[in-house]
Each structure stands twice: as structure tokens, then as C-alpha cells.
């Protein structure tokens, strides 16, 4: 059986302005199982940001339900939403959004800080995560001393520190050049291969192509919600060529992870069973049942 990371049921958002009401999201329904890697696409104004804000518990829906795991968060108050954000959700933003006055390790720990859980153990974990994203030698650097790609790595480490239900990435590669974009996407793929659920807003086909599934929005509706192969066939874009791994350890892991997806496993949106612990650095053992 598989666990649901997040489920939206007829989720909608209206912005009530003085003269009119904007129906930004007109009731969308979908599940994201644990371990999925979803791209949310759509033209400008289609409701991507609105949906992302709802999934990130930054905003409350006007109607509908939103379940994180089994908890309905649609009706939580501000403090409740804050607590959910600090415990259950990992954010990666387009503009990195690190805190200037904190160093790498401190930035990674911020979500824990608001759970009142900063101590020696969590610091060790933050250092581990920094190492995992390849910044083991930059622990006490401030954001100003890092490149864009490095800052985004810190943000990714930060998004994982609270062991969230899912990582929300909003145009996470939008500010990066193509080489760095590839590195960051590899990192996401590695995390996903370890079992992390990732939901990413993007407008680039090349980025979406490296996910498992694409949800396309239009005018506040879901236009299509397809596994990547079918989405590609329907919307006519090419799959990325898998780049040759360099002799870095993380790239090896990434290649292995990619091998799982490009080996013809089509990942459906129904059931996904992940064996093995998500903390394990071994190659995850993934069983996929396609029920269609």
C-alpha cells in the first residue's frame, strides 16, 4: 500500500477584490503519493502560484479540502498553519531566500528553530545535510559568500531538515544557468530516488521532463495530469539526454536514480510503494504497481 503525501479535494481559491472576484483556482482534485515527483505547469495566470501557496500552507483555501498525510489543514488557523509549515513542508524558492545574517548550518536549521528543536543533534544533522548537498566545506559561510547554485543547495538542505511530507519547489532553477540547473535537478532526482516527495512549479519543459508526472493548469482548472511519458507525447517535447556522470559520488547516485525512471518504469499516480528507509544511502528498492 502507499501513503498519500498530500491530497487536494475540490480545492479552490477566490480572491475577492473591490470590483470583482477572481477565481484563481476553481476546485482541483489530485493526490500526490509519497515518493512522487510532480511538475506543476501552466501559462501565466493559470493558478500555479495560488496552488503552490495552498500546498505550502501559506494561504487558506476558499473551499475544498487539503490533506497532509491524514490531517485536513484547510481550516487551520495561522498558528496551526505555521506549525505545519515548520514540521511538514520543505520550501525551495526561485530566489533561494536564505537569511543573510546566518551561515550555512544556521540557515539549514531555521525550520527546526521554530519547532524549538535546535540542539547539538540537530546541528549534526544540519552539517550532514550540508555535506549531502556538497557544501561540507562551507559550513560557516554566509549567503553572500556563496554562488547561486550553492545557495540553492543550502535551500534544498534546509527543505529537508524537518523531514517534510514533501518538498515544494517554486521555479527552483529559474535563476540558474543550464549547468547549475542540471546539478540542482540531479540533486532533486537523488532525493526523490531516496523516497522524498517533490512538487515543483516550472514553466520549462526540460525541467518538467525530469519529473515523474506533470500536472498542467489552465484558468484555474487541471488541464491534464499525466505521467511524464504520456505528457511528453501529448505536448511534443523531447526527453533530456542523460548526461555522462563525472567522477563525483553524488553523480553516480543520480545516474542510478535516473536509471530507475528511464528503465521503462512508468510511475502512475495511483500507487507507489517504497521499500527501505528514506535515510538510507543505499540504492532504494522501489516497487511500482501500475493499475491502469
Amino acid at each position: 500500500m502507499s501513503n498519500i503525501a498530500v491530497r487536494a479535494e475540490n480545492l479552490g481559491k477566490d480572491y475577492v477584490l473591490k470590483s470583482e472576484t477572481v477565481h484563481a483556482l476553481r476546485g482541483v482534485t489530485f493526490d500526490v503519493p509519497e515518493g512522487d515527483y510532480v511538475a506543476i505547469m501552466g501559462p501565466s495566470g493559470s493558478g500555479k502560484s495560488t496552488l503552490l501557496n495552498l500546498l505550502g500552507c501559506l494561504d487558506r483555501p476558499s473551499f475544498g479540502e487539503l490533506y497532509l498525510g491524514t490531517e485536513n489543514v484547510a481550516t487551520l488557523n495561522d498558528n496551526g498553519l505555521s506549525d505545519i509549515r515548520s514540521k511538514r513542508i520543505g520550501f525551495v524558492f526561485q530566489s533561494y531566500n536564505l537569511i543573510q545574517q546566518l551561515n550555512v548550518v544556521e540557515n539549514i536549521q531555521v525550520p527546526l528553530y521554530y519547532q524549538g528543536k535546535v540542539n547539538r543533534t540537530t546541528r549534526k544533522r544540519a552539517i550532514e545535510l550540508a555535506g549531502k548537498v556538497g557544501l561540507g566545506d562551507r559550513l560557516d559561510h554566509r549567503p553572500q559568500q556563496l554562488s547561486g547554485g550553492q545557495m540553492q543547495r543550502v535551500a534544498i538542505a534546509r527543505s529537508m531538515v524537518n523531514d517534510p511530507y514533501y518538498i515544494l519547489a517554486d521555479e527552483a532553477t529559474g535563476n540558474l544557468d543550464s549547468k547549475t540547473t542540471d546539478e540542482i535537478l540531479c540533486l532533486f532526482e537523488e532525493l526523490n530516488a531516496e523516497g522524498k516527495t517533490i512538487i515543483m512549479v516550472t514553466h520549462e519543459d526540460e525541467v518538467a521532463a525530469r519529473c515523474r508526472r506533470v500536472i498542467r493548469l489552465r484558468d484555474g482548472h487541471i488541464e491534464s495530469d499525466l505521467p511524464i511519458e504520456q505528457d511528453r507525447q501529448k505536448y511534443h517535447y523531447s526527453m533530456p539526454t542523460t548526461e555522462q556522470p563525472e567522477d563525483e559520488e553524488e553523480d553516480v547516485a543520480v545516474t542510478q536514480a535516473q536509471a530507475v525512471t528511464s528503465d521503462g518504469f512508468s510511475v502512475g499516480d495511483d500507487e507507489l510503494v517504497i521499500g527501505g528507509s528514506s535515510d538510507s544511502h543505499d540504492e532504494p528498492e522501489i516497487e511500482v504497481d501500475i493499475d491502469e
Binding site: N53, G56, L58, D59, D78, N79, S82, D83, I84, R85, S86, K87, F91, F93, N97, L98, I99, Q100, Q101, L102, V110, P111, Y113, Y114, Q115, G116, V118, R158, N162
Partner: protein, 446 residues
């Protein structure tokens, strides 16, 4: 323990944030620091001045009432060639006999005169009084004895010398038993005692201003009346000049402090005709009243200082609020990030409040430190000024030249406490503003 730890972390974070803009933080601290230091300094200087005034008044004796004869201006004396003024013996006796609360009453006559012994002579002051004078002024003997009541009763020609006169007239000999000569009225007085040096200060024998007692010669008042009489003549500016005075001063000591004001009223009543005649030849000085006045003045001063302090701290507080509001706006993005990562509104509010309070605590501490330096700094300043501008400093009144600031202990916790309170009050609004930002809007902020 946990709460303490989290407060500590918030505070740590606050420090880091404040160090993002060290100059701005320093300027904010400055506003508070000036306020706190000013409070401590002003109060210390005020306390120093009032302490000095009180010492002076207290040295007159809180249980005393002093009636002084004052020589009126010449135009008020009329055409007579003898200036006649001052307290009369009959009035003095009336006071002593009719007011039971009076413990002792000391009549005093004094005149400027010169003294000689052998080839030595010296100008000084001849003071006629009673035995009580020595007790009331707490004078100390260096040698011999005071004048006794019997000396006063029998108009003895005995005298007690102050150290200054004794040293001038008898550089080599023991003065006791020798006879001092007064050329002005051709009288001799046998020395029976010598007083120790007495610091120049206000006292029984003097007015409010500090006087020089080092050239006094004391004789029984009865002897002075008999030998010299009430009229004294002096050759002044080419013509003879005479004045008739029965008593120059009466110092009345009341049994208890509670009676002072009542007795003072009685005394003023008894002397009303003379007090109100317009001639103005008598003055009644009540040190206790002066003390109370000084106390009132001190209170007024304190209130005034308090107002100044309040205003300067208020200005500092508004400065803090201003800067914190700017900081909050500037850090909108950071607030958005923190909110997105799970900070509750309360956590944001606490963070900014802690920053403001940290600023005001630092301002308070620096202010207290600089405040404590007040006495040292002023002493150094005075020494420097005296060294570089001796004449100008000499022309300043003694109160200004000699005042030593006294730090009022309560001013330290109070001013520090107010500084912190200011931080809390003026930090509240910016912190509230920060916490109420919409996380989505804040994240979008450039």
C-alpha cells in the same frame, strides 16, 4: 530551562541581525545612552549643589533662630550723625522671658578693631557674648578655659583668643595670663584661653555666608557694654562716623525642633514693628525654614530634571521606533522567509522586540557607565579649567567652583529601567507590524 534556551537563541539571533548594520545600531543606542547618562549627570550635579547648600544651612543649627541687626542704607537713617539701628536689649530680654520653649539665647556684639601686644599688632574682631556661645558653636579649646558665667556676671576683663590672633600677637610667648591691648578704646583684656582653629563656615556667630573666624577675640558681653558702650566711632573717608547698636545678633536655641517654627513666629511677632518699619534693620533667619525651602527647591529641581530626562528618553524611544520600523520594512523578505519556514506571528514579534530591547539595554548600560564617570570627569574638567583659565575660574561663585557631584544611587536603576521600558514600549509597534505581514506578500517583496 527550555524557554530560557530559546530566549537566549532569539537574543543571539537579534545580536547577529543588529550587527548587519552596526552603524545604524550604534546611532540608535546613542539616543538612549545620552538620555540615561544625562539623567545620572544632572541628578548628580543637582544633588551636589543642594547638598552643599544644605550643609551650609545645617551648620547654622536646625534648632536655632537667628536675629541679626542689619545696617540700613545711609539714606534711610535720616540726618542724625549717629546711625542707630538693630536689636535692642529690652527686646532680647522680652523674648527670653516670655517664650518658654527657648533653651538658650545668646546675645552677640561684635566690632572691627585692632589688637596689640608689645610690638605686635593685628586687625581683628572683638566679640562680646556669653558662656553659651562656646557651647552652642562647639568651639574647641587649645589651651586655658572658656569665659565662665561668673566672668560675664562680674564684667571681668578676660578674653579668649582665636588661634590666628594668638599666633600673630604671641609668636614666641605663652599668651595665657598676658594682657592684650585694644588701642581704639584703650582697654586691656587678660587672656584666659586659646581656641583651636575653626574652619571658616557659617555658624552661630555669623551670617549665612561663610566667615573668617581666625581673628576673633571673645570677651564677656557685659564687659564690652561697660568698656565700649553702645556707640562706636570710626574715622572713615575723612570724617567721623558713629553708630549705636545694642546687639548685633541674638542666636536663640529652641528646646525641640518641633517648636522652631512656632517660636520663630513668636519672635517675628515681638519684633514686628521693627521688622515692618521699613528701615529694615533686623532680619530673622530660621535655618529650619531655609532647610525646608532648600528641600522644596531640591524637589522642584528633581521634577524638572525628571521632565528633561523623560523628554530626552522619549526622543530616544521615538528614534528607536523609527529605526526599527525602517528595519522591519527593509527585512520584509526575511520576515516572509521565516514565516514560510514555520515562524508563528508571535515568534516574529518576539524577535523584533528582543532586538529593540537589546538596543535599549546596551544604551542603558553604556549610559550608566558614562553616568558613573560624572564625578571623575567633572573633577578633571575643573582641574583643566583652573590650570588654563585661573582668573575666569576665580571669578565664578564658590558654589560653582567647589560643587562636587554626588551620584544619586536610585538614579542608576531608575534610568536604566526606564531605558529598557522605552525599548519595550517603542519596540512593540514595529514588532507588531512585522508579525502581521502576510507571508506571501512578504516573500514577494524585493
Amino acid at each position: 530551562m527550555n524557554a530560557l534556551m530559546s530566549l537566549f537563541r532569539t537574543w543571539q539571533l537579534g545580536i547577529k541581525s543588529l550587527f548587519l548594520h552596526p552603524m545604524r545600531s550604534a546611532l540608535t543606542v546613542l539616543g538612549i545612552f545620552i538620555g540615561v547618562a544625562a539623567v545620572i549627570w544632572l541628578l548628580a550635579i543637582g544633588e551636589g549643589i543642594s547638598q552643599k547648600a544644605q550643609e551650609q544651612i545645617a551648620s547654622l543649627g536646625a534648632r536655632n533662630i537667628i536675629v541679626r541687626s542689619i545696617k540700613p542704607p545711609l539714606e534711610k537713617l535720616g540726618d542724625s550723625n549717629v546711625a542707630e539701628f538693630g536689636l535692642l536689649r529690652k527686646d532680647f530680654n522680652l523674648l527670653v522671658n516670655t517664650i518658654p520653649q527657648i533653651e538658650v539665647a545668646i546675645p552677640i556684639r561684635e566690632m572691627k578693631i585692632s589688637f596689640s601686644f608689645g610690638n605686635n599688632d593685628m586687625d581683628g574682631r572683638l566679640v562680646g557674648s556669653t558662656t553659651d556661645y562656646f557651647n552652642a558653636t562647639k568651639l574647641k579649646l587649645a589651651k586655658g578655659r572658656f569665659l565662665s558665667p561668673a566672668d560675664v556676671d562680674k564684667n571681668k576683663d578676660f578674653c579668649v583668643l582665636s588661634m590666628g590672633i594668638a599666633e600673630a600677637l604671641f609668636p614666641h610667648d605663652d599668651p595665657i595670663g598676658k594682657r592684650v591691648y585694644c588701642p581704639t578704646n584703650q582697654t586691656y583684656y587678660e587672656v584666659v584661653g586659646i581656641l583651636r582653629k575653626r574652619t571658616a563656615s557659617a555658624g552661630i556667630g555669623g551670617s549665612l555666608a561663610a566667615q573668617d573666624y581666625s581673628r576673633d577675640v571673645y570677651i564677656p558681653i557685659t564687659t564690652l557694654n561697660q568698656r565700649v558702650g553702645d556707640v562706636t566711632r570710626r574715622f572713615q573717608s575723612g570724617s567721623f562716623y558713629a553708630e549705636k547698636v545694642e546687639l548685633h545678633q541674638a542666636t536663640i536655641q529652641v528646646k525641640t525642633m518641633d517648636d522652631v517654627l512656632t517660636v520663630a513666629e513668636l519672635v517675628k511677632d515681638a519684633l514686628r514693628t521693627q521688622l515692618e518699619s521699613g528701615k529694615g534693620d533686623i532680619d530673622v533667619i530660621v535655618p529650619l525654614e531655609l532647610l525646608e525651602q532648600a528641600e522644596t527647591t531640591r524637589m522642584m529641581f528633581m521634577i524638572f530634571m525628571g521632565l528633561i530626562a523623560a523628554v530626552s528618553l522619549l526622543v530616544g524611544g521615538i528614534g528607536i521606533m523609527n529605526i526599527m520600523l525602517a528595519t522591519v520594512t527593509e527585512r520584509t523578505r526575511e520576515i516572509g522567509i521565516r514565516r514560510a519556514l514555520g515562524a508563528r506571528q508571535g515568534a516574529i514579534q518576539r524577535q523584533f522586540l528582543v532586538e529593540t530591547i537589546t538596543l535599549s539595554i546596551v544604551g542603558g548600560l553604556v549610559g550608566v557607565a558614562v553616568g558613573l564617570l560624572c564625578p571623575v570627569t567633572l573633577e578633571w574638567l575643573r582641574d583643566t579649567l583652573i590650570e588654563n583659565f585661573p582668573e575666569e575660574m576665580e571669578s565664578l561663585p564658590a558654589e560653582v567652583r567647589e560643587t562636587v557631584p554626588i551620584i544619586v544611587p536610585i538614579s542608576i536603576p531608575v534610568s536604566f529601567g526606564i531605558a529598557v521600558l522605552i525599548g519595550v514600549i517603542f519596540g512593540m509597534y514595529p514588532a507588531y507590524r512585522a508579525s502581521r505581514m502576510d507571508p506571501i506578500e512578504a516573500l514577494r517583496h524585493e
